[in-house]
Assembly symmetry: D2
Homo-oligomer: 131 residues x 4
């Protein structure tokens, strides 16, 4: 799938006492981006969960270039950069106005639950044929 | 059980762009108070969950009297004010220095999960004999 | 202003280990509802902040009737029920499908900052003439 | 300063519908670790803010090795690995039992506010002589 765009409004809940978005909340924003990209191509996480197929974040790296503030409408741009047997890698940027304020590379792994512990599995074909 | 006290430090994550604790986060603080009170009397929520016994919040009312700020060490004081067949009611105050900054009355209901939906149940005696 | 409606999607960030929305997060949802209602009538909170006019929550009461889950699209319905010299009161409902799952009455007070402390002020007419 | 350890309890607020800690919340935990390390050596962020000295996260990379769950008591271990003219780099691990479940490298930059925008500054000596 090509780049997917999601608009997000910054609310008080997202900001902190420095007056800008709390650094940990950018990870909420990009997770919404990945979730809505999945939904767009017909992949619903709660439905996948009922079939014991989950994705968990394996690793990430990110740069905080500038800050979003209360009431800003930011845009999360998401693209899948790599597809392996058990994992997917996303490149994600957050844009405000004409500036990139944040970027991240996020690798997620497909898992099932076994006695309450996540075990990596091959990504099912109903997913790979869509991404 | 008599009043239970829990000290909590305010971090950046708890504050918002108004420079004080975000109003919704006081409900996190008082839930920590209820959880630690339970732990103190030998009630562990994850263990209760494995036996399909949960508590969910039924209703609450609260007053935001003053504001906590970054780095403040606040104190959550919790007391059980009512015990019914299926519910518990807590009175909770948050103190900073010598001032009450927040209070709440919170009623929680004992439930089990039935096809993914919570159903009220009688509070098991292993709980009522402890609270 | 008449009732204002805001659609909100439930993400992983909103849920907890009971499998449903964490009780404290409903207060984020209804704050988004109040913020977007304000924006709709031309009131922008970050702009108000630059003029040293803020609203802080004074008190609230709420009922948790049923639970929202991952991927649910819920609707926050907001109406102003009372306007006083220094405060506004909102009635807010959260709807999923054809069911009310949450309601709240929230009183907010208009303040300015004085030496880092909030002081109640008369709601400015540029606000009262719009709500 | 040598390695600093902080114990943290996992509450419902930290978990999500997968039954484990939400990935974005590990960044809250490690920020508490950095904050308490600073406090230990006499650096108080709210006091620094009053002198217009802030730290903002510049970049980070992290690995999610295993999951923390409700009621787990985890330990955040923090060490400063690099000190530059304007930045500090931390190595941070989260341990549960005898297992490392998360690690991160976090670079923070010292800034002041200029017209609401953060500008990098040399780390003041009252800080460098302590870390």
């Amino acid at each position: 799938m090509k780049e997917f765009s999601l608009k997000i409004r910054v609310y008080y809940e997202d900001t902190d006492a420095e007056g800008v978005v709390y650094y940990g909340n950018y990870f909420k924003f990009i997770e919404r981006g990945r979730t809505e990209m999945f939904r767009k191509i017909g992949l619903n996480q709660s439905q996948m969960g009922r079939e014991d197929v989950y994705f968990v974040v394996h690793s990430l790296s990110s740069n905080f270039i500038s800050s979003a503030k209360l009431d800003d409408e930011i845009e999360v741009r998401t693209i899948i950069s790599e597809l392996d047997l058990t994992s997917l890698t996303f490149k994600q940027n957050i844009i405000f106005g004409d500036r990139k304020i944040f970027n991240a590379t996020v690798k997620i792994v497909c898992v099932k639950k076994e006695n309450g512990v996540f075990k990596p599995i091959k990504i099912p074909t109903f997913i790979t044929e869509k991404v």
